[in-house]
C-alpha cells in the first residue's frame, strides 16, 4: 500500500466509524443510566433508516427536504423510544436482572415484522444527499463528499454530547445516575423522568444514525441484527457508559477494517493470507484483546456491585412434592412414545436438547452469576466435534461420547479469560470468543465444510428409529440436567453460589472463587456440548448457525422466559419457547411479531419467569397451610 492509499483508507475508516459511533453512543448512554442491555437498539437504527427513506420521499428532494427528513426521523424514533420506556421497560426495573433484555428481544421480533409489513420485503435505496452527492479529489482519488461530512459529524456529535453531559444540569444527573443510580434516587432525582429522557436521547441517536445512512446504503430488513453486534462491540471496547470511549472504539474498529481491506491478500513465508476475509471477525478479535488486557474496556470503570435489590434467595433443595412432580414428568416423558406420532418425538427431541442447553446456560448464569452471551459456542463445538469425529475416525457412539469433552476443552480455554471479568464485560467476552469460534468454523472449508456445513451425520443403525433416538436424547439430556442440578447442591455448587453472592467473603473463607468459576464454566460448556452432539445426530447435518449469535440469544431467551431464579425455569423456558416457535410459525405469516407479543405478555405477567411464577404460587400456598 502506498502512503496515499493508506491515507484514503484511513478516511474511509473514519467515515464508517462516525455512523457506528452515533448508534453506539445511544446504546452506551442507555446502558450507563438504566443498565438495560438494549437488544432493540439495532431495530431502532433500522426504523431510523426506513423512516428517513419515507420522509425524504415524501418531502421531495432538495436540501431542506432531505435534511429535515433525516432529522425528523431521528426525532420520531426518539419519541418511539420514550414510549417504549414508559409503557414497557418502566414496569420491569424491579424485575430480576436481565429481564429487560428479554423484553427488548421481543421488541426486535415485533419491529422486524412491523417493518416488513409497513415497507414491504424489497430493499429500498434512498437518494444521495442533495448538495453532497458528488466526489472530490483527495490524494489523486475521488472521495465522496458525503463521507467527508460523516467524518466531521462524528466529532461534532461527540462534542455536543460532551457539552450536554458536562455543562447542563441534566447531564450532571445522567452522570450521577451512571455512577450510582440508587444514590441519585436517594438524593431526590426524579428517576422516572431521567430514565425516559435518556432512553429517548439514546433512541434518537440510533434513529439518526440510521437516517444518515440512506445516502450510503439501502434500507434492508436485516440491518437491525447486522449492526447490533457491531455497536455492542464498540460500546464494550470503549467501556460501557463512556461516550469518548465509544468514539475511540468506533474509530479503532472502523479504521482497522478499512486497513484490512486495503491490505488485501498477503503472501508471506509461503502462506497466503487474506486480510479482506478477516473483516468477518476483526471487531471481535479487537474486543477479546481489549477485554483481556483491560477488563472494563478502554475508558470504562469497574461497575459498582449492585445493591441488595438483586440478591437472590438461597437455593433450597426441591421439596418432596416437587421431586414427585419431576419424577412424574420424567415417567410421562418415558411413556410418551406409546401415545404419540413420529413428529411429536422429533419435536420432543429438540425440546430435550434445548432444555439441556438452557440448563447448562442457567448453571453459569444463575447460580454461578456469570452471564454468557456466547454459550452457543460450546453447543456448536460439541456438535462439530461429534460430526468431525464421526466423519473421520470414530463410530457414532464414541463420537457422541467424546464430543462433549471437546466442547469442555474449548470452555476451559475461553473460560480462563472470561472468569477474570464480570458483569456485561464477561458476557461480551464470551460473545467475542463465540464469534471467533464461529468465524473459524465458517471459513475452514476443507475441515468443517465452511458456510455449508456438513451433512450425513446420522446416528448408528440401532439408534436410527425416532423412538430409540428419542430415548437416547431423553437419557442423555434428562441425565445431564440432573447431573448439573445435583452439582449445584454439592460443596462445589455451594461454593459457586458463595462466589456469586459475596466474592470477598467467599475468598476469606478459603474458596478460590476464580477457580470455582472457571471449572463451573467448563462444566457448563461440556454439557452444552453434549446437547450439541445429540442435536447434530438428530438433524443429520450441522452448519455454522449452531454456534452463531442467534443460537446464543435463543438460550438466553429460554432461561429468562422460564425464570432465572429457579432450577426448573430453564427447562420450562426451553420447552415453551421451542414449542411456541414450532406451532406459531405454522399459524400466521407474521409469526415473529406474534412470538414477540407472547414473550412481552409473559414478561409483563410473569416477570419472575414461568417456573418462578409457579413456584411463587406454590410457596404462597404451602406457606399458608403450614401456618
Amino acid at each position: 500500500m502506498s502512503f496515499s492509499a493508506i491515507f484514503v483508507q484511513l478516511l474511509n475508516g473514519l467515515a464508517s466509524a462516525s455512523s457506528l459511533f452515533l448508534v453506539a453512543a445511544g446504546l452506551s448512554l442507555i446502558f450507563g443510566v438504566t443498565r438495560i442491555v438494549n437488544f432493540a437498539h439495532g431495530s431502532l437504527y433500522m426504523l431510523g433508516t426506513y423512516t428517513a427513506y419515507s420522509l425524504v420521499q415524501w418531502f421531495g428532494g432538495g436540501i431542506p427536504g432531505f435534511w429535515s427528513g433525516v432529522l425528523l426521523s431521528g426525532v420520531i424514533v426518539g419519541l418511539f423510544g420514550a414510549l417504549v420506556e414508559r409503557l414497557l421497560l418502566r414496569r420491569l426495573y424491579h424485575a430480576p436482572e436481565l429481564l429487560q433484555l428479554l423484553a427488548t428481544f421481543a421488541l426486535v421480533l415485533i419491529i422486524s415484522d412491523f417493518t416488513l409489513w409497513a415497507w414491504g420485503p424489497e430493499d429500498l435505496l434512498g437518494p444521495r444527499a442533495p448538495g453532497l452527492a458528488g466526489a472530490i479529489s483527495i490524494a489523486g482519488r475521488r472521495f465522496p463528499e458525503y463521507d467527508l461530512f460523516l467524518i466531521l459529524l462524528g466529532p461534532l456529535v461527540l462534542g455536543l454530547l460532551w457539552l450536554l453531559l458536562t455543562r447542563t444540569r441534566w447531564g450532571t444527573l445522567v452522570r450521577a445516575a451512571t455512577e450510582d443510580r440508587e444514590m441519585a434516587g436517594a438524593l431526590g432525582v426524579n428517576q422516572a423522568w431521567l430514565f425516559t429522557s435518556v432512553f429517548a436521547l439514546g433512541s434518537f441517536l440510533a434513529g439518526l444514525g440510521g437516517a444518515i445512512q440512506i445516502p450510503r446504503e439501502p434500507a434492508v430488513l436485516t440491518m437491525d441484527l447486522s449492526i447490533l453486534s457491531d455497536v455492542f462491540v464498540v460500546v464494550v471496547v470503549g467501556g460501557m457508559g463512556s461516550i469518548p470511549g465509544a468514539f475511540l472504539a468506533a474509530v479503532i474498529i472502523g479504521v482497522l477494517k478499512a486497513m484490512c481491506i486495503g491490505i488485501g491478500n498477503v503472501h508471506a513465508f509461503g502462506i497466503d493470507f487474506s486480510f479482506s476475509k478477516l473483516t468477518l471477525v476483526v471487531e471481535f478479535i479487537v474486543m477479546a484483546v481489549v477485554l483481556v488486557i483491560r477488563p472494563w474496556g478502554l475508558f470504562g470503570r469497574s461497575q459498582g456491585a449492585p445493591r441488595a435489590a438483586s440478591t437472590e434467595p438461597p437455593l433450597n433443595l426441591p421439596s418432596p412434592a416437587l421431586q414427585k412432580l419431576l419424577l412424574a414428568g420424567l415417567i410421562m416423558l418415558a411413556l410418551l412414545p406409546l401415545a404419540s406420532d413420529r413428529y411429536t418425538l422429533v419435536l420432543m427431541t429438540d425440546i430435550l436438547v434445548f432444555a439441556l442447553f438452557a440448563v447448562s446456560l442457567h448453571f453459569i448464569m444463575g447460580p454461578a452469576g456469570m452471564h454468557s452471551f456466547g454459550h452457543a459456542a460450546y453447543f456448536g463445538l460439541g456438535a462439530y466435534a461429534a460430526a468431525l469425529l464421526f466423519k473421520h475416525v470414530l463410530p457414532m457412539e464414541l463420537a457422541l461420547a467424546l464430543a462433549p469433552f471437546a466442547a469442555g476443552l474449548g470452555a476451559l480455554l475461553f473460560g480462563w479469560f472470561c472468569v477474570r471479568l464480570s458483569g456485561v464485560y464477561l458476557a461480551m467476552l464470551t460473545l467475542a470468543f463465540a464469534q471467533i469460534a464461529w468465524s473459524v468454523v465458517y471459513q475452514w472449508d476443507s475441515f468443517t465444510g465452511g458456510s455449508n456445513g456438513m451433512v450425513g451425520v446420522w446416528p448408528a443403525q440401532w439408534l436410527a428409529s425416532k423412538t430409540t433416538f428419542y430415548y437416547l436424547a431423553l437419557v442423555l439430556c434428562a441425565g445431564g440436567t440432573m447431573v448439573l442440578w445435583r452439582i449445584l447442591y454439592s460443596p462445589f455448587g455451594y461454593g459457586l453460589r458463595a462466589g456469586r453472592d459475596s466474592p470477598l467473603r467467599a475468598d476469606a473463607i478459603g474458596i478460590d472463587v476464580r477457580r470455582q468459576q472457571w471449572l463451573g464454566f467448563a462444566l457448563a460448556g461440556t454439557f452444552a456440548g453434549l446437547a450439541g452432539a445429540v442435536y447434530a445426530f438428530s438433524k443429520g447435518s450441522i452448519s455454522p448457525d449452531a454456534l452463531s449469535i442467534p443460537r446464543s440469544v435463543d438460550g438466553l431467551v429460554m432461561v429468562l422466559m422460564g425464570g432465572i431464579q429457579t432450577l426448573t425455569g430453564a427447562v420450562a423456558g426451553a420447552a415453551v419457547f421451542t414449542w411456541l416457535q414450532d406451532s406459531i410459525s405454522r399459524q400466521t405469516e407474521f409469526w415473529r411479531a406474534l412470538l414477540g407479543g407472547i414473550i412481552l405478555f409473559l414478561v409483563l405477567v410473569f416477570p419472575q419467569g414461568i417456573a418462578g411464577f409457579i413456584r411463587e404460587r406454590w410457596e404462597a400456598r404451602s406457606g399458608r397451610s403450614e401456618a
Partner: protein
C-alpha cells in the same frame, strides 16, 4: 374435506392454549390483589385459595392433556383425497426473493387444480417457514413427511438449508426438489439419489458469463465476492474457466467482504488501487447496491468492464433504479422483454392474479411446483422411486422454455438470461440479452461422475 378437518384440529388446539394461558393470567391477577399481610389470617380465604389452586392445577392438567391429545390425534390423516406436497422455505429471512416465489407456486397450484389436479385428486401444498436454520428445516421436513404425509418435498433458498434437507431426503427416502439453492455441491459432491435441483447452479451461471469475459481479452482482473460458499465457488469457478480460455490472465485483487456487511468505500478503494482492467463480482442484495453506489461515485467502473452474477434479476436490479450501472455484464431475467408464447402466457396469468410483475423468484416457485406435478403425472403415482425414475431425463415446459432434468446428476438444464445492463426511463433494464441454455454450460459427464458420490 381433509383441509377442513385439519384446520378444525388447529382451531381446537388454539382454543385449548388460549384457555390455558387465560387461566394462568387470571391467577396472576388474583395473586396481585392479595395483600401480603392478610395471608395467614383468614381461614376462609385459605380455603378459597386452595380451591383456586386446585382449579389452576386442573386447568393446567386439562390444558396439558388437550395438548397431548391434539398432538396424538393430528397424526396421519385417514385415506387421502388430495395429493400433498411439502414446501419449506426461509420466508422471513429472505422475503424479497421469497414473496414472489410464493406467488409463483400459488399460481402454479391454481393452474394445476383448475385443470383437474393430478391422478384425479386435488393438489395441496403445505408450506412451512424454516426461519433460515437448517436444524429447523429438518424438523419441519420431518413434520411434513410423517404428520402431513406429503408425497415429496420442495423449496429452500440458502444453500446450507438446501443441503440439510437434501440429506434428510436421502435418509428418509423422500423425493426433494431443491428450488433456489445455487451451491454446486447439492447435485455434485454432496448429491444423492433423492435430490433434484431446478435453478442453474453457481458454476453454470459463471460459465455463462465467461465467454464474454474471455472475448474482452483483459489481462488484469479484480474479484469481489460475498465471503461464503456461493461467492467462493463463483470466484473459484471464474478463475478456473477464464484461465483455461485465456492463458496468462492475472487476478490482481480479491476482496471478500462478509455477507451483508460490505465496507463498500474501502473495498472500492482497494480495487481501484489494484489497477485492474476488468472486474468480476458475485455480490447481490444490499452489498451490491452499496458497491454500485460507492463504485460509481469513486469512478471504479469507468473504463473497466464489470461482470456481476445475478445482478440482472429484478429482485436486485429494481432497487438500483436510476443508478443502474450501464454496460455491466450480468445474468438475470428481463421479464418485460421476453416475447415467447410460453412466457407471455405466464406473464398474463401472473399479472392477472397478483396485479404485480413477476420476479425471478416467481419463475422459480412456479417451475418447481410444475416440476413436482409433472413428476407425479409422469410416474402415475406418488411412489418415491417411481417419481425419481420419472424425473430422470424428464422434459419440462416452463415460462423460460423447455428444459429437462438430467439423469446423470439430477440438475435441470433450465438456463438464464445473459446480457448487459442499461438505463431506460430512470430504471435498470437488460439489453443485448440472450437465453443461455443450461445444458451448454455444464462440465463433461466424466467430470460430473467423478465428483458425484456413487449411489
Amino acid at each position: 374435506m381433509n383441509a377442513l378437518a385439519r384446520s378444525t384440529t388447529v382451531k381446537i388446539l388454539q382454543r385449548s392454549e388460549i384457555v390455558y394461558i387465560l387461566a394462568l393470567t387470571d391467577r396472576a391477577r388474583d395473586g396481585g390483589h392479595q395483600p401480603p399481610g392478610t395471608r395467614s389470617e383468614s381461614s376462609v380465604d385459605d380455603v378459597n385459595l386452595r380451591e383456586k389452586d386446585m382449579t389452576l392445577r386442573r386447568t393446567f392438567l386439562l390444558g396439558t392433556a388437550a395438548l397431548a391429545m391434539s398432538a396424538v390425534f393430528s397424526g396421519p390423516a385417514a385415506a387421502q383425497s388430495t395429493i400433498k406436497i411439502g414446501e419449506i422455505n426461509s420466508y422471513k429471512t429472505f422475503p424479497a426473493f421469497l414473496e414472489p416465489y410464493k406467488k409463483g407456486w400459488e399460481l402454479a397450484l391454481e393452474e394445476i387444480n383448475k385443470s383437474g389436479g393430478l391422478l384425479g385428486k386435488k393438489v395441496e401444498v403445505i408450506s412451512r417457514d424454516d426461519s433460515g436454520k437448517p436444524g429447523d428445516a429438518v424438523r419441519v421436513a420431518e413434520e411434513l413427511v410423517s404428520r402431513e404425509n406429503v408425497s415429496l418435498l420442495m423449496g429452500a433458498f440458502a444453500s446450507h438449508v438446501g443441503l440439510a434437507i437434501s440429506d434428510f431426503a436421502k435418509q428418509r427416502k423422500t423425493l426433494y426438489i431443491a428450488a433456489e439453492p445455487l451451491t454446486d455441491q447439492i447435485v455434485w459432491n454432496k448429491g444423492n439419489h433423492y435430490t433434484f435441483r431446478l435453478r442453474p447452479s453457481t458454476y453454470m451461471q459463471v460459465a455463462m458469463l465467461v465467454p464474454d469475459a474471455a472475448k474482452l481479452n483483459k489481462k488484469r482482473w479484480a474479484i469481489v465476492y460475498p465471503n461464503y460458499e456461493y461467492g467462493q465457488s463463483a470466484t473459484a469457478g471464474f478463475k478456473k474457466l477464464l484461465s483455461a480460455k485465456q492463458p496468462g490472465v492475472e487476478f490482481v485483487s480479491e476482496q471478500a467482504p462478509a455477507l451483508g456487511k460490505i465496507e463498500a468505500g474501502a473495498v472500492v478503494q482497494a480495487l481501484i488501487d489494484a489497477k485492474p482492467d476488468a472486474i468480476f463480482s458475485s455480490l447481490f442484495g444490499a452489498d451490491l447496491q452499496k458497491f454500485v453506489r460507492e463504485g460509481t461515485q469513486r469512478g471504479l467502473f469507468k473504463g473497466r468492464p464489470t461482470f456481476n452474477l445475478l445482478a440482472g434479476e429484478p429482485e436486485y436490479l429494481d432497487t438500483l433504479k436510476d443508478e443502474t450501472p450501464a454496460g455491466w455484464y450480468v445474468t438475470g431475467y428481463p421479464w418485460e422483454q421476453i416475447n415467447t408464447p410460453e412466457h407471455k402466457k405466464f406473464l398474463a396469468a401472473y399479472q392477472a392474479k397478483w396485479k404485480d410483475y413477476p420476479r425471478l423468484g416467481s419463475i422459480v416457485g412456479y417451475s418447481t411446483l410444475m416440476s413436482a406435478a409433472e413428476a407425479i403425472k409422469k410416474a402415475g403415482s406418488t411412489d418415491t422411486e417411481k417419481m425419481i425414475a420419472a424425473m430422470k431425463g424428464m422434459q419440462m415446459d416452463s415460462p423460460l422454455g423447455k428444459f429437462s432434468y438430467r439423469a446423470l446428476d439430477h440438475q435441470s438444464t433450465m438456463g438464464a438470461y445473459v446480457g448487459r445492463l442499461a438505463l431506460k426511463d430512470g430504471k435498470g433494464v437488460m439489453v443485448d440479452w440472450k437465453y443461455s441454455n443450461g445444458a451448454d454450460f455444464l462440465p463433461s459427464d466424466a467430470d460430473v461422475k467423478a465428483m458425484r458420490p456413487a449411489e
